[in-house]
Amino acid sequence: MLLTVQDLHKTYPSGKHALKGVNFEVKEGEFLVIIGLSGSGKSTLLRSINRLIEPTSGRVLFLGKDITHLKGEELRKVKRQIGMVFQQFNLIKRRSVLSNVINGRLGSLGTIESILENYSDGVLADAYKCLDTVGIASYANERADSLSGGQQQRVAIARSLMQNPKLLLADEPVASLDPATSNSVMQYFEKINKETGTTVICSLHFLSLVRRYASRAIALKGGEIVYEGAPSDIDETWFKRIYGEEAEEVEIR
């Protein structure tokens, strides 16, 4: 099992109980999608997996190892193996596309080496290969913030690929993109998942995207899992149960 989440709870210092006992497992090579309303705890769950935040109780096992309360160097070693893509891309705006991508390798580079930006040919070659995977190698020397939203997200994906991740997390990666661009960005996740067998866990808002890309889906509601299964089984009844009676499905192609 690549990832096991056991009875995971997260209570923020503000007192908000954002995760209330979440259990699930992820096998290698899966494309797991997490759905749920705003505030249902999707980001909190993803951040607990790569330990951007520390869960309050429960366990997260990554490759069989308990990583729930790791600290320091050991935690960084785990983070190195888990890539993450964010809704807001989170690139360093004033730096070039290439240096943004190389940033993905920081975890395995020496401190001095990375500060002097004295990268070996191997690292540079890897960076170009990652850019090539997402089809924007020709933009390598542009400033990151001169690219369009879709392109910036592809740079962010390339950055996470530099980690050679065993697991790729994506927190609403297409929520700030238009429908057509969303689809093209999702296709890169699909490609990475299919071609390199990298496991992907991704939170999404549109059910049409979920049905198209997910091999399995989990639905969160108020910090609890209310649905787990094949995306094709999410019918009208389930939809209303996850998103509330008022909700209506919108189509995106």
Binding site: K79, F89, N90, R95, L106, S108, R159
Partner: protein, 358 residues
């Protein structure tokens, strides 16, 4: 719509809901403020109006026992006045009566305070229309102005060297300040230091220290250092350096505190260590503001360097003091013109450079 709270209902509910303690506290605050108002009015009336205008004394008599008596009487008056709920302080703290008399007393007393303050200010600063327009004075000023506008170029070489010294004092102080300020500013940025107790204590102590250093003017630092390292440009340079570090560290660390957290999070998610996170996610977001602050500070430092010379910090200010002491106004005129020119050029340059980097 009719269910909505009518505006004037709100204060009543508010008053009803504030506790007994809260109202006692307001009473005490208001009584103390009234005491001060009464005390202030009596003292100003006595000294400014009675001594000055009625008795026309030159030296005002002063005794602590008299002041103490006024204070005691004012305290009684202040408390009584607050007790009547008609005073200005009652209105300020929201515990006054709501009738016509109160409104009048408050308004009249506020005007009264304003007026006596103005009168006191007039006397304290010794405003004198007569001396402003006395023929003797005007003649002197004319002589000075004409000297300033007919500068004596004989000392041009000396003045030029002194000016160069001044510019270098400012430049060196600014340059040396950069690495030191950078180092300090990371330790005084809340978002980087709040994680552990030890770093937070460092943050706190440094902040207090910097505030203290900043609150002392560069002119005073120059006095201190001209005793410490001897009169001359070195003293001026260190004085500027110290003040520059303290002021810019505050600006720098505010820039660090306002960076976007997203990129920092993204870099830390790659497994980068703390130093790498700062270098690759924090630094790129702050170089431009840092550069801009530093150039602006160079501009300020040139201005200050001219002043610092007046108290032994070297450079053009030093020369200005010498010729002013000798009453050689035409030489002073040259120096003043040179200072104005350099300050204007610096101002223009720093504005242009700062514009072009954004």
């Amino acid at each position: 719509m009719s269910d909505m709270i009518v505006p004037d209902k709100v204060p009543n509910e508010f008053v009803a809901s504030t506790g007994m303690l809260e109202r006692r506290l307001r009473f005490v605050k208001s009584a103390l403020l009234d005491t001060f108002f009464v005390f202030y009015s009596v003292i100003v009336l006595q000294r400014a109006v009675y001594y000055r205008f009625i008795l026309d004394l030159r030296d005002f008599p002063f005794s602590w026992s008299q002041i103490g008596m006024v204070l005691a009487l004012s305290t009684v008056a202040g408390f009584l006045w607050t007790f009547s709920r008609t005073s200005l302080s009652c209105r300020l703290f929201g515990i006054s009566k709501n009738d016509k008399i109160t409104k009048w007393t408050v308004e009249i007393f506020a005007w009264f305070l304003f007026d006596i303050t103005f009168i006191a200010g007039w006397i304290v600063t010794r405003i004198s229309i007569i001396s402003l327009f006395s023929p003797d004075g005007i003649q002197g000023a004319e002589r000075l102005f004409s000297a300033l506008f007919h500068p004596q170029f004989g000392i041009f070489d000396d003045a030029l060297f002194a000016m160069i010294e001044t510019i270098y004092i400012a430049l060196v102080a600014t340059l040396i300040s950069i690495p030191l300020t950078l180092l300090v500013s990371f330790f005084t940025a809340r978002n980087l230091m709040k994680d552990s107790k030890i770093t937070f204590v460092i943050y706190y102590v440094l902040r207090i220290l910097l505030n203290f250093i900043r609150s002392i003017e560069p002119l005073i630092w120059a006095v201190i250092f001209s005793v410490w390292v001897g009169i001359g440009p070195f003293a001026g340079m260190i004085a500027l350096l110290v003040h520059t570090i303290a002021s810019n560290a505050k600006l720098y660390s505010e820039a660090i505190e306002s960076i976007e957290p997203g990129p920092v999070e993204a870099i830390s998610a790659t497994g980068a260590n703390k130093v790498q996170i700062v270098w690759h996610a924090v630094v790129p977001q702050i170089v431009l503001p840092f550069l801009s602050f530093t150039i602006y500070r160079w501009d300020i430092n040139v201005r200050m360097a001219t002043i610092i010379g007046l108290v032994g910090g070297g450079g053009i200010g030093n020369l200005l003091m010498q010729y002013q002491g000798l009453a050689r106004w035409r030489e002073v005129g040259l120096i003043v013109i040179m200072i104005a020119f350099v300050v204007w050029v610096m101002d223009y340059l720093s504005a242009r450079i700062r514009e072009s980097i954004y």
